[in-house]
Symmetry: C2
Subunit: 249 residues, 2 copies
């Protein structure tokens, strides 16, 4: 019986992977992943066998990884960003009851909320919510409810999957919802192609964000009521102004 | 003028740092941090000068780092977990207007929501909120409001700073609030001392969580309505049961 690693590879460049993730891939004979993510690590691990599948074949891909592991191969499942956050770790566990002999090890990675956040400054310096705008596996009314309540809670919000060819106006719909509770001048930001060719970032207002065309390789950040713009960066302070008495520094 | 790195060092062991973080520390002459975090990396970088301050001296610490950088030293500010999430990146930017010559680079790291999540399984596999129970810089009523709304939104929730000597019953108060909207059987989990000596994890129900004594080195996970327990792990699936028609795999 061999270990099955579910590995968060971070945003895409090897230096943004943890040592633990690099080590798991090194130890593996077979790397299983979505074609695009496999391409991100192929150059660093040219001697590995890659098993790749298309974007929506997650179940097939994870089952294959479990099968290979049960056949005594050392296998890593590649996840963009973190292994858990919208990653494959959950699905691997869900399918694992058919493969009781496989030992699973999840290896955390830097998810886009963090890697994109580092580029923008510190957009998630206080309590925050991470919400995906993809309604492939989640009813849209549930997504709307989450956006409304997260906004009402004054959480900073990080949006994953803000748009695609088939969901061209989803970011706009989300911003319209947020504008019901948030000020149009709320500081926001977005990053495209984190750690990849064509990386770019922008800090702007919520009102301006409404007119941005989102795509799949974009991560969006909505500030809370305290978020400020400092020298082109997006910064959410770690707290709220408190009574002088409570100020300890 | 030298770069000032604000570095997320992850949960504490070198193999959980990204290559970029290791490189930033290697390039630095001076590492500035809270005593406990400095101790986590001291063994890996014995030749560095360490400037350490106590727990609540964040502003003093960050100002010192900016001053040293302005004096042409290469400096890294050490942050446990990520540099942005409850980290020093925001404070460094807030203080940076007095040091316009310093170039700041934020280096993301694996925050406890991810490193702890990997140990438990996949507690944050779908939309989630990260909320700190520390009321040092945030009024408690704001924390309560966030817990209520995040729970109503059926977000998975990760709690940071769930308790300390001075806040012994905060986790219990938070759980009591969550029990107003969530079922007592909701799958939860917690991890203590992530990647450090004495690391331990537990999966339990929300009702059971109420009786757990929290401390500063603990991260708590509250499931959403779909979260399940699989072979001792905590797993939040990536979606909701949908109409057959929408099922693509």
């Amino acid at each position: 019986m061999k270990k099955l690693y579910v590995v968060g590879i971070g945003p895409g460049s090897q230096e943004r992977m943890t040592g633990e993730a690099v080590e798991a891939l090194r130890k593996s004979e077979i790397l299983v992943g979505y074609t695009l993510y496999a391409d991100l690590v192929r150059d660093f691990f040219p001697d590995k066998v890659f098993v790749t599948t298309g974007m929506r074949a997650e179940t097939e891909r994870c089952r294959r990884a479990l099968e290979l592991s049960a056949e005594d191969k050392v296998v890593s499942v590649l996840c963009s960003g973190d292994a858990g956050v919208y990653g494959m770790a959950g699905l691997i566990y869900e399918l694992s009851s058919d493969f009781p002999e496989v030992e699973i090890q999840v290896v955390a990675g830097v998810t886009a909320a963090l890697s994109g956040g580092a580029i923008l400054g510190a957009p998630l310096g206080h309590d925050f919510a991470v919400i995906s705008l993809s309604d492939l596996l989640t009813p849209w009314d549930k997504i709307e409810k989450r956006l409304r309540l997260a906004s009402e809670a004054d959480l900073a919000i990080c949006l994953y999957n803000p748009g695609s060819h088939h969901r061209r106006d989803y970011l706009q719909r989300a911003v319209d919802l947020l504008l019901e509770t948030k000020d149009g001048t709320t500081v926001c930001g977005y990053v495209r192609n984190i750690a990849r060719e064509g990386e770019s970032a922008c800090v702007l207002t919520l009102r301006e964000l409404r007119d941005v065309q989102a795509d799949m390789l974009m991560t969006v950040f909505i500030g809370n009521s305290q978020t400020v713009r400092i020298a082109g960066h997006m910064v959410t302070p770690r707290g709220y102004p408190l009574d002088e008495k409570k100020k300890l520094f």
